[in-house]
């Protein structure tokens, strides 16, 4: 690390060591853990989205889907038959043309593997190629298939080949870039090179090369950005973003995201199995202070659904700024449940958050201080997500699990459904429902609302409202805040839009440079 700082310092002052047509994406850690476009369900989408393409892409600003590999699509009135017309002249990186058969093969393989967010295709019953240029989807129930086809995960169209079980570091996509190098664990983790036959063409000053660089220390990232060595840093802590704001050669872009920070309350373990204690915790917290302590990393959440998605509403009965009333309510609830000052019983809770997340740590420490006057003793522990926090949450014995699980959630496609279906629907095997919450009434609504989104959006919005009210009433979750994306970019970069539908993805071909 010392060495890289020195290098950055030596070459400093704009321009940088890389060629002008190379886009350098700085990430806090290695990105790729899965190369198979059908199985990818993690950070590697940042890479894969520049290699593979989907039929459509969701534009979060216009709130409409736009064509990528498909140019037109129509649906029957009952929204159970969808026909997509494919773009002419699209070739896979192998040189083979994109055909209706290829689309069918890719989506069917994704559905068959049942990995990643393949559930988004669940309504699809049959895929029928109509000639070489059209694909018809026949659904078992109505669904907004144009949105499904734009999903961040599990919606890539790729070349399925019998002999190609291994997708590692190869590309069978149609996207603007091909993988030229993958060095797991090293600084320049992935390198992409322009695919010259890309259907979108290469007119203008487009980036010919993309490097994804892993920089674990955020101070190093800031250093690389200010010396012109990096073109994009997406997740710097607020105080470092503030130091880079206004520097020559850099620009800072902010926008609210669809990434919400939630605390899931263990509904199966004492004392949070008592809904009164859960409600008391919800009301005892001072959300205004939590948001302020995040120093701009978070804004207040209005409920489960963030702004910009169907079903968002800001008039739900959440704890508001009337702190005294909320605190009185929390005390009363605790007393009813047999806790609180004078009862001789303390509520002992353990909160886990993904280690390394400064915002979550700060919030956890502050929550400890806020809950103490209520006789609630909160222990905060940062655990490595993959090796400790998540495995512990899935332990067989409920008593060995945490009381409050803090994590971020963002949707798999531009629908609100994933917040409910993945996090709050009854689960036979524990996956992301880490409140271990089960409510048959909510389950029924979750199963219905997807079809409603396609046929009657207004009714779907009302259903989402009911669903959020159920959750607020049962209180299995703390709405801690919604992330504000703060991206630091080199001023050389032109044409950047931050699309919350594709968390942390930069579609590099859309950009040009000076």
């Amino acid at each position: 690390m010392v060495l890289s700082v020195l290098v950055a310092g030596c070459s400093g002052g704009g321009g940088g060591g890389e060629d002008d047509d190379t886009f350098v994406y700085l990430a806090p850690q290695g990105l790729v853990t899965e190369w198979d476009p059908a199985r990818s369900y993690s950070d590697e989408v940042v890479v894969l989205s520049n290699v593979y393409e989907t039929l459509t892409r969701y534009n979060a600003d216009t709130r409409r889907t736009e064509g990528v590999l498909a140019t037109r699509w129509t649906s029957s009135k009952d929204r159970r038959t969808w026909t997509f017309t494919l773009r002419d002249g699209v070739r896979f990186h192998s040189g083979r043309p994109l055909t209706a058969e290829a689309v069918k093969a890719a989506i069917e393989r994704t559905m068959r593997l049942k990995a990643s967010a393949s559930y988004v295709w669940d309504p699809v019953e049959k895929i029928v190629p109509v000639g070489a240029r059209q694909v018809r989807f026949e659904l078992s129930r109505p669904a907004p298939l144009d949105i499904v086809a734009s999903a961040t995960y599990a919606a890539y169209i790729y070349e399925v080949r019998d002999d190609a079980k291994d997708y590692r570091a190869t590309d069978r996509g149609t996207g603007p870039y091909t993988v030229s190098a993958w060095r797991p664990g090293s600084e320049n983790e992935v390198e992409l090179t322009a695919f010259q036959d890309y259907w979108g063409g290469w007119h203008g000053n487009r980036y010919q090369k993309v490097i994804f660089q892993a920089v674990p220390q955020s101070s190093t990232t800031a250093q690389l950005m200010s010396s012109g060595e990096g073109d994009y840093a997406g997740g710097l802590p607020p105080q470092l973003v503030d130091t880079l704001r206004g520097r020559p050669g850099l620009s800072v872009r902010e926008r609210p995201s669809w990434q919400t920070l939630i605390g899931l309350l263990n509904t199966e373990k004492e004392p949070l199995d008592d809904v009164r204690v859960r409600r008391a915790v919800v009301h005892a917290l001072d959300y205004g202070e939590l948001i302020a302590a995040s120093r701009g990393a978070l804004v207040r959440s209005d409920g489960v659904i963030p702004q910009g998605l169907l079903g968002h509403t800001n008039d739900l009965d959440l704890p508001n700024d009337d702190l005294d009333a909320d605190r009185a309510r929390a005390r009363k609830l605790l007393k009813e449940a047999g806790y609180g000052p004078g009862s001789g019983r303390t509520v002992e809770l353990e909160l886990t958050y993904p280690a390394g997340d400064d915002t979550a740590r700060t919030l956890g420490d502050l929550m400890t201080a806020q809950l103490r006057p209520f006789g609630i003793d909160l222990q905060v522990r940062g655990l490595t997500w993959s090796s400790a926090q998540w495995p512990r949450a899935k332990k067989k014995d409920p008593d060995e699990r945490q009381d409050i699980f803090v994590m971020y959630w963002w949707p798999d496609d531009a629908e609100s459904l994933s917040y409910f279906r993945n996090v709050f629907r009854t689960e036979k095997e524990i996956s992301y429902n880490l409140a271990y919450y089960s409510n048959p009434e909510l389950d029924r609504l979750i199963d219905r609302v997807g079809a409603l989104t396609a046929t009657d959006p207004a009714r779907a919005a009302r259903t989402y409202r009911t669903m959020q009210k159920i959750l607020i009433n049962d209180a299995p979750v703390l709405f801690l805040g919604t992330t504000t994306y703060r991206r630091v970019l080199s001023s050389d970069v032109k044409g950047f839009t931050d699309n919350p539908a594709y968390a942390n993805v930069v579609f590099v071909h859309d950009l040009t440079h000076r």
Binding site: R361, T368, R372
Partner: protein
Amino acid sequence: MTASPSLSRPSPTRRAPGALRSRATLVLAVGGLLLIAVLALLAPVLVPYPEHATGATDTAQALRPPSAAHWFGTDELGRDVFSRVLCGARIGPVVAVLVVAVSLLVGTAIGLIAGYFGGWIDEVLMRLTDVFLAVPALLLALALTTVLAPGPAGLTVALAVTWWPWYARLVRGEAASVTGRAYIEACRALGLGHRRILLRHVLPNASTPLLVQASTDVGGVLLVASGLSFLGLGPQAPTPDWGLMVEQSQNYFTTHWWLGTFPGLAIMVVAALCFLLGDALRDRLDPRHIPRT
């Protein structure tokens, strides 16, 4: 002549300035450590914001630079860094002293027995010691703290387990070298018990190197303990442990220097005083050691 007397034995004139300096060092080290001990003891009543060491926050005052109200500034939750650093003297250094005390007890007992009795007892005990010494201390402590519950207690146990073999080795050497001597034989002939011989006639020979080693080690253990805290394996937030505070200040270092600097300085000062004390003690007590002149 083979060697000049001044080389084999310091002459009074050469020795004086060294002795003086070592005495000044000793006074500085003992005085400094005593002062820190008193400050640590009285920290809860001395510091301006004792509640900031136990989890209370004051977000309205977050990230203020050092001032008259907050000598060392405030952290991201508005907690007074001075109060936290001073109260932190009750954690890291206490862990270090406890680790050394436990290691001393266990290591000395094993070393004495091994060196005095010799034979198969010596073999078994020393091979056992070698097993512990074979694993790098930091690695073993790291592995143990991940298994034990994170906190001062777990940290103390993990470090004591890795530290005792050094004392066992040291004491065993000293014990073995005196056991064959005539005066020990005489004690045996007089019919003295093993325990009395060990404690009254063997152990005192090892006391000087032990004392020197122990005082230096308090500093060494503090550094390792802070390192483990830095990795998140020691006391958990909101405990004002120095290593933990340095860790949590990482992303603030370029923008809010006071968050990590003061706990870091605290670790440095205490460790340095311990090393000085060890040095000064060796200069004064060890007849074989020639003080630097």
